[in-house]
């Protein structure tokens, strides 16, 4: 058991930080309170560092942990400056005016703590090797976000978003829990590699298949795939932009990692394909998800809603990678065949570029209200040039415009899709990217070409939010130069365990050259 603890050092560190943050977040002394984000950052950095040193896990994808945790920590670190100033504005203002600080009125502690909790959950998902663990980790990822959505603004919209998110989330959780139960029933074990081995040895069986299908659709809620996508626009729009940015990444990443595991349980067969039913489910889901997401995004005038639908669509793109699986050659599959690696890399790209758009929205304010409508950002390149340019770059990247990060990510999905012989799906993906161009181009057009509309939005006083936006745009460009290493690590992370192993694999060291694990001795 104790050796298993070594796997969750990053989570442990984050948990420690969370505890500290809970305290500092409501410390009577304002300067201590102001330290909270910094403490979060330290925790994230520490967790990131620890994840680099993490040994390979014993789940289906031994390498997944290191990459995912580092990714989590990294994107979390980028989000952190954006979160600053989301809650407690009134409380802090009053405190600055000399009114005594009332912890009971403050949400800061929970907010940061829940943020870290959620990230912890995400990290735990990546190290899950057991259904129970997976279930708990998924819940840990989601539950804090329900609260964060609700408290992110003072308006009723957040509360509406929170209630919808929570109830539908609970429904989704019930569904995948039931699926897990069936999985357990079919395989007689909750240990994921054991289940996989069992299925491989004895066939999936109808209960097992039902379990897989139900688990998949349940988890699809987390990635906002059709038909579990309905909550997305409402929740994203209702929540404050920083929280929406987080929602677009954290649960999605958790969901995809879980989908990896569940699909991995079903197994990509000799021909590199999932069992027919699972394959069909993911195929239809992928096609519908990207299409529905994009066509609905087209109709939006609210940027947040548009981005929510675009988030749905991006999940659809990534499902193509899941379908492709780790490639026919199994552990030896090169990156271009490895759909899972493509998904992992795309998650990184998406996390970085998506942040920029929400960051821009969060960096524009009118009496404490964040920008939302497309009218609010018109002519941004003239009024607030740096935000305008962030918007242009991130939109183009989301659009998959070469040579930006989004394009590179999409290329991976393209090659994986083609190599797994899902060419119709790849064409749908291509056409959907074109549909997406309609509305991303509208964003670009609005900020770059159109005259500024005087809706009263000004640059937010929270410099850290501008910083986060700029960071995102810089990431979109600069990561291109280190893309090589990132792709390699995504590739290594998604290497499945030896596909023919009968039981839980022994700890392997074939990833010795992995640069993410360079420190591991």
């Amino acid at each position: 058991m104790s050796e298993k603890l070594a796997l969750i050092w990053p989570e442990f560190l984050l948990f420690m930080t969370t505890c500290v943050v809970m305290l500092t977040g409501q410390w009577p002394n304002a300067s201590v309170r102001r330290l909270t984000p910094w403490l979060c950052a330290i925790g994230l950095i520490a967790a990131g560092g620890a994840s680099m040193m993490a040994p390979p896990g014993d789940g289906l994808f031994p390498g997944l942990m290191g990459y995912s945790k580092l990714l989590t920590a990294g994107i979390g670190l980028m989000m952190l400056p954006l979160l600053v100033g989301t809650v407690d504005r009134k409380v802090e203002r009053l405190a600055a005016e000399g009114v005594p600080f009332q912890p009971i009125r403050s949400n800061g502690a929970e907010f940061y703590a829940f943020f870290l909790f959620s990230l912890t959950g995400l990290m735990l998902v990546s190290s899950a090797d057991d259904l129970i663990w997976l279930f708990l980790a998924l819940e840990l990822t989601s539950l804090p976000t329900y609260i964060m959505v609700t408290i992110s603004t003072q308006g009723t919209r957040s509360q509406e978003a929170g209630i919808k998110y929570f109830f539908l989330g609970a429904l989704g959780a019930a569904i995948f829990l039931y699926g897990f139960a069936l999985l357990y029933g079919a395989a007689g074990s909750t240990d994921i590699p054991e289940i996989a081995a069992h299925f491989q040895a004895n066939g999936v069986g109808s209960i097992g298949l039902l379990g897989i299908l139900i688990s998949l659709v349940g988890v699809a809620f987390k990635v906002a795939a059709v038909p579990m996508h309905f909550y997305t626009p409402d929740v994203y729009q209702g929540a404050a932009s920083p929280v929406s940015a987080m929602l677009a990444f954290v649960p999605k990443a958790a969901g995809f990692l879980a989908i990896f595991m569940i699909a991995g349980v079903a197994g990509w067969g000799e021909d590199g394909r999932l069992p027919a039913e699972v394959d069909a489910l993911l195929w239809i889901m992928a096609a519908l998800t990207m299409t529905v997401g994009n066509v609905l995004a087209l109709l939006q005038s609210s940027v947040k809603r548009m981005m929510a639908y675009s988030s749905v669509a991006h999940s659809g793109y990534m499902l193509v990678g899941v379908l492709a699986g780790p490639g026919i050659a199994g552990a030896d599959a090169p990156f271009w065949q490895n759909g899972l690696a493509a998904v992992l890399f795309y998650l990184l790209c998406y996390g970085v570029m998506n942040l920029g758009v929400f960051g821009v929205l969060a960096s524009l304010e009118r009496r404490g209200e964040e920008a939302d409508e497309i009218d609010d950002i018109r002519g941004l390149c003239k009024t607030v040039p740096h935000l305008g340019w962030v918007m242009v770059i991130c939109s183009l990247s989301l659009l998959g415009f070469p040579p930006l990060l989004g394009f590179i990510g999409k290329i991976g999905l393209f090659t994986a899709g083609v190599s797994s012989n899902n060419i119709p799906l790849v064409l749908i993906l291509g056409l959907n990217s074109a549909i997406a161009a309609f509305y991303y181009l509208r964003l670009v057009g609005a900020v770059y070409f159109e005259p500024a509309s005087d809706t009263g939005f000004r640059a937010s006083p929270y410099g850290s939010r501008h910083f986060a936006s700029l960071l995102s745009a810089a990431g979109v460009i600069l990561l291109l130069f280190v893309g090589n290493g990132l792709i390699k690590s995504a590739d290594n992370a998604s290497r499945p365990d030896s596909p023919t192993s009968e039981a839980a694999p022994p700890e392997t060291d074939y990833r010795a050259g992995d640069d993410l694990h360079a420190g591991h001795g």
Partner: protein, 548 residues
Amino acid sequence: MNPIWLILMVLVPIAGALLVAFGNARNAYRDALFASFASLVPALMALLEFDFTDSASFQGLWSVGWLEPLGLSLSIGVDSIALLLILLSVLLGPICVLASKTAITENRRLYYSWLLVLQAAMVGVFASRDLILFYICFEFTLLPMFVLIRMFGSTNRVAASTKFFLYTFTGSLVTLAGLVYVVYFAAQRNGEWSLDIGVLTTAAAFMSPGEQALVLGAMLAGFAVKVPLFPVHTWLPLAHTEAPTAGSVILAGVLLKLGTYGIYRFAIPMAPVGFVEYAPTIAVLAVIGIIYAGLICWIQDDIKKLVAYSSVSHLGFCVLGLTAVNATGLSGSVLYMLSHGFSTGGLFLMIGFMYERYHTRDMRRVGGLASKMPVWSFFMVFFAMASVGLPGLNGFPSELLCLISAFQADASWVAAGEPGAAGVTLGPWYAIFAGTGMVIAAMYLLIMVGRICFGPLTEPEGHHAHDVLPDDLNLREIITLVPLAAGCLVFGLFPGLLLDAIQEPVNQTVRLVESAQELALPRPGAGPETDAGVLMILDEAGAEGANP
């Protein structure tokens, strides 16, 4: 040839763009002019250093890894065709800057920097030896053009730019799928993932005819839109009409050629059997385009729209030459790519100069300018004649070769051993119908010239002299036109300068198609020996392009 020149041709405009973008707005024009002239230097060096005796092999090869797991590398190199197209792109740079001096009065920094970025991207397209790098540059050209139209276009610019972007972008994404399939196929065949165009070309010929047809379809989805081929041409008149003058010049001069270049470089060698199979269909579309767009030109009142539709018609000839898949046709087509830019680019400049003075493009409102603008009219007639395909000017040799190639490419004639027959895809009827395009071209261009230059002088009501520009062309404008006019004349009289240079690569492509044909449809009695021979030819053809 030293790859540094190719690299510089990309970097100099980009540096220029940065200089302009962050420099003083008042100096934007001057800086841009400097940068565009400066990029002529590496172009000239490349031209001098290029070994034309070995024009089919790629020279100036240079490669540096980028995203290795994806096989994506920055690898460049040019054969003579790519080099010439690059030179055309670079040459248009200063012309476009010069032509914009008085036309663009606001946002100059943006304008000139995007113009320079566009130039760099165009060079990148032709210089790429990496498939995805090609695609990146290919797509990237959309952005500057989009900005130029959207920001500096005329009244309907938003719709035009959006349509331009979305239409071509949509097509290109399907192309990407096709290209990736080729890569995947090659990777399976070679056991190694490579994006090197040479490697891919070698491997792709082994695709089954069915696969080739699909790949061809996917490639055409992007390239045909870009050309543009009937019936996917409707974005072009709109984009041309709304674009600023320099934008139209570049669009007509180079960007449309990306489509035909794509067909030449990718569709033909990578899906040779499929291309030969579907060449008649493509050719029918090209011929329809020639006649259809020509007739539409006839009744246009908007002079710029007229010239825009004429581009559709003209590019039909270019595609026709490609579909003949013989030496004459490919030579003619490549020649067309090079020369069309001079004449049509010239026409767009002329229209731009007129527009600056009269602020209208409606031939009902302005006409008979010969009496007021004799120099302008001279050039107008000159470029119109080049566009008509008057022998002695640049349009003629290419049009002639394209038509001959279609005419001669009759399978029954080849079988009968006619000495002038080559190619099996088309036949005389294609040339006959396409040939009516020559008559129609004369019709609409002469009517255009007749209305705009000749007849009684008509000026829009309330017209007053431009506050900067004289009635007729000024020296700067003439200097802008002279290189294009000289190009028209020189390449009309000495097309051999270009034809000789492109002969080898073209022949090699023809060889490749023929070998692939034999590979796919082995003649009875062809033993393994023949197959080996075919393989050798294919490998040799591919190896020419392979990076060391």
